[in-house]
């Protein structure tokens, strides 16, 4: 019944042609699996790629909820925290479970919490819902630091994860953690991508574009919303587990604060709402940008550009970029890249002397 819906242009255009998309995906994965472990330095993996992978996955999860299903959430970091602490506890208390199983259970825990905090979405719309997701943010942070059980009775709620092991093999090198993280992120992103192309995915878009209209054509709106909350929280929860297990190794509830939630939302906005690629582009931007800014600032202003000034400048530029993207390119870096790609291929075709006009100019 939902197939009569025309897909909005965002989803149709996010990956131009299946064949081209497949080529690109294979290329990216080949680089990620072969070239990076061979050539990337320890610093690049630990300081750039590991946070990038975890944050990308979180952005993929939030994008599903906000970009596809249209439910704005300001509490993503809370679900990351649930995932991280759940994975830690499953690993600690049910030590016989293989690590991936702990991760799946952690994701399911986050999904459950997500459904509970998604319940208001059945009654509330728009701003009222966005604000009510803040309840998740504050409640989870409070509960994790207040009840010692979650952190195995650490007085300040800090958890330190064990060394990564998989089926007897130690993954405790930067490359091992990177490959582990990369595999999980790839699998989950493909899963989300498939989901967005399924009947459920089209139901998400229908709910986003007009709730009453969606109901009129027979889409079960409450179930659809809760499904979006559940899957999104699952993905974000696993991202939180990755953040704790592969990147930081030692995390505390305060690390999953409101600023982190905003950071993930900003990745989605800057990268592009309702595209999977956008989540990765946005995360890459948010990870790399502060480093570039620090370099540029130190180069241009020298000593005046201390960490305080850097922090403030970063806030200003990120905030301004969010506004700029919302105004000028609501479909984010992903669409920007598409356009540049189209322009380049058109130029290349012209230079090659081809007389046939470019198909996508």
């Amino acid at each position: 019944m939902t197939t009569i819906l025309a897909l909005p242009e965002t989803s149709r255009r996010s990956l131009p042609r299946p064949s081209a998309a497949l080529i690109w995906l294979t290329l990216v994965l080949a680089v990620a699996y072969v070239a990076v472990p061979l050539f990337a330095s320890r610093y690049v993996i630990e300081a750039l790629l590991l946070p990038f992978l975890a944050l990308s996955l979180a952005a993929v999860g939030l994008n599903l909820l906000t970009g596809y299903a249209g439910q704005l959430s300001l509490g993503s970091a809370a679900f990351m925290a649930v995932g991280a602490f759940a994975a830690y506890n499953f690993n600690l208390r049910l030590g016989f479970l293989p690590l991936p199983v702990s991760f799946v259970l952690a994701g399911l825990t986050a999904a459950l919490v997500g459904v509970v905090f998604g319940l208001p979405s059945l009654r509330l719309r728009g701003f009222y819902l966005a604000v009510s997701t803040l309840a998740a943010q504050f409640f989870v942070q409070w509960a994790l630091s207040k009840f010692g059980w979650f952190s195995n009775n650490n007085p300040s709620g800090v958890i330190s994860v064990p060394r990564l092991q998989l089926a007897g093999f130690s993954l405790d090198t930067p490359t091992g953690r990177y490959l582990f993280s990369l595999t999980i992120v790839t699998l989950l992103s493909l899963f989300v991508w498939r989901l967005t192309r399924s009947a459920s995915g089209r139901a998400f878009l229908a709910v986003r574009d007009g709730e009453t209209a969606a109901r009129a054509i027979g889409i079960p709106v409450p179930q659809t919303k809760l499904l979006a909350f559940a899957v999104s929280s699952f993905v974000i929860g696993v991202a939180g587990a990755l953040w704790a297990f592969t990147y930081l190794r030692t995390v505390e509830p305060a690390g999953f604060n409101l600023d982190r939630s905003f950071q993930i939302l900003f990745m989605v906005i800057i990268g592009g709402l309702a595209t999977i690629r956008g989540a990765f582009l946005g995360a890459a931007f948010i990870v790399i940008f502060p480093l570039l800014l620090a370099r540029a600032g130190a180069f241009l202003f020298g000593g005046i550009f201390d960490s305080g000034v850097l922090d403030m400048t970063q806030r200003i530029v990120i905030g301004a970029l969010v506004i700029l993207f919302l105004i000028a390119e609501p479909r984010g870096l992903a669409a920007l890249l598409d356009r540049i790609g189209a322009r380049l291929s058109a130029t290349a075709a012209r230079l090659a002397g081809s007389s046939s006009p470019s198909p996508r100019s």
Partner: protein, 299 residues
């Protein structure tokens, strides 16, 4: 058995909570002003509050007299309002409200960063000359600062009420709030009105910023007060000034009572989320708040 002292203590907590709630209302009113006329939930209201308080305190520290600093800061807030209308609102006109909301998140970052880049990050003391000593009224110990803040809140509400009903521009505000297209059709200039509303919200931010700054010190955490005002708005409805006041009273009182009587059982620190839970419970019954306008949907 409850003895007399416990009853007295209960009322002291209750009154303290009600007065603290009015401090939340003060912040919430700024949101309502903007929401009513432009349909935007302005997350940057907290950042504007921080910006106003920091600007004022820095001017005073440079030796400006109180009144001059106040007027100068107000002028700056007007400028800020017009700048926001020009650079953020106008390009985003006719876009979904949720897009505008996300833009105000970005705006909050810009204003917070700019305020601290301009005026520094250290904590400033702000003395408004109002004592924070508890007074005894009818046997209850009540902070005189709280009473002044409550009076200011009521004064502000009365002034805004008069402004909306008695002045021409207030009438225009209400027309825009009622129906933007109709307002446009009768010749009201929307950009001008929006800029004015943001300037008025800037004034509210200044007043609230001074009171909160005098209480907590003028520092970054002032911008986090939005998080206290949001449950008030959820409860009262985003588009009702009366709702902001009543919501503030309910949230303030229940928060203080819960902290005192419920907090010890769960290990304390519940004020970060309790207000949200109260607001959400109310919303389950009334999805658009106590005084919020019912949304009528058409397909």
């Amino acid at each position: 058995m409850m003895d007399w002292h416990e009853v007295l203590f209960f009322f002291e907590v209750l009154v303290g909570g009600l007065l603290a709630g009015l401090m939340y209302s003060l912040v919430a009113i700024g949101f309502v002003l903007i929401y009513k006329t432009s349909g935007v939930l302005n997350f940057a209201q907290g950042a504007m509050l921080l910006f106003a308080a920091l600007t004022f305190v820095s001017l005073v520290n440079y030796g400006a007299p109180f009144l001059l600093a106040f007027v100068a800061t107000f002028a700056i807030m007007i400028g800020l309002g017009f700048a926001i209308e020009r650079t953020v609102l106008r390009p985003l006109v006719n876009r979904p409200p949720i897009t505008l909301f996300m833009a105000t998140l970005g705006l909050a970052y810009v204003i917070e960063g700019a305020a601290q880049l301009l005026w520094g990050t250290q904590v400033h003391r702000l003395d408004l000359g109002i004592s924070d000593k508890p007074m005894e009224i009818a046997g209850l110990l009540i902070s005189s600062f709280d009473l002044v803040a409550a009076a200011v809140a009521f004064g502000l509400v009365a002034a805004l009420g008069a402004f909306f009903t008695r002045t021409r521009i207030g009438l225009a505000f209400r027309a825009v709030a009622d129906d933007q297209f109709a307002a446009l059709a009768v010749g009201l200039r929307l950009p001008r009105i929006w800029a004015t509303v943001w300037a008025a919200a800037g004034f509210v931010a200044l007043v609230a910023g001074l009171l909160w700054g005098a209480r907590l010190g003028v520092q970054f955490s002032l911008s986090i007060i939005v998080l206290k005002a949001l449950p008030v708005l959820l409860l009262g409805g985003f588009d009702s000034i009366l709702g902001a006041v009543v919501g503030g009273l309910i949230i303030g009182a229940s928060e203080k009572l819960a902290e005192v009587y419920l907090g010890p059982y769960v290990g304390g620190g519940i004020e970060s989320w309790f207000a949200y839970v109260v607001a959400l419970l109310f919303l389950l019954v009334r999805p658009s708040g106590l005084f919020g306008q019912k949304i009528v949907e058409r397909v």
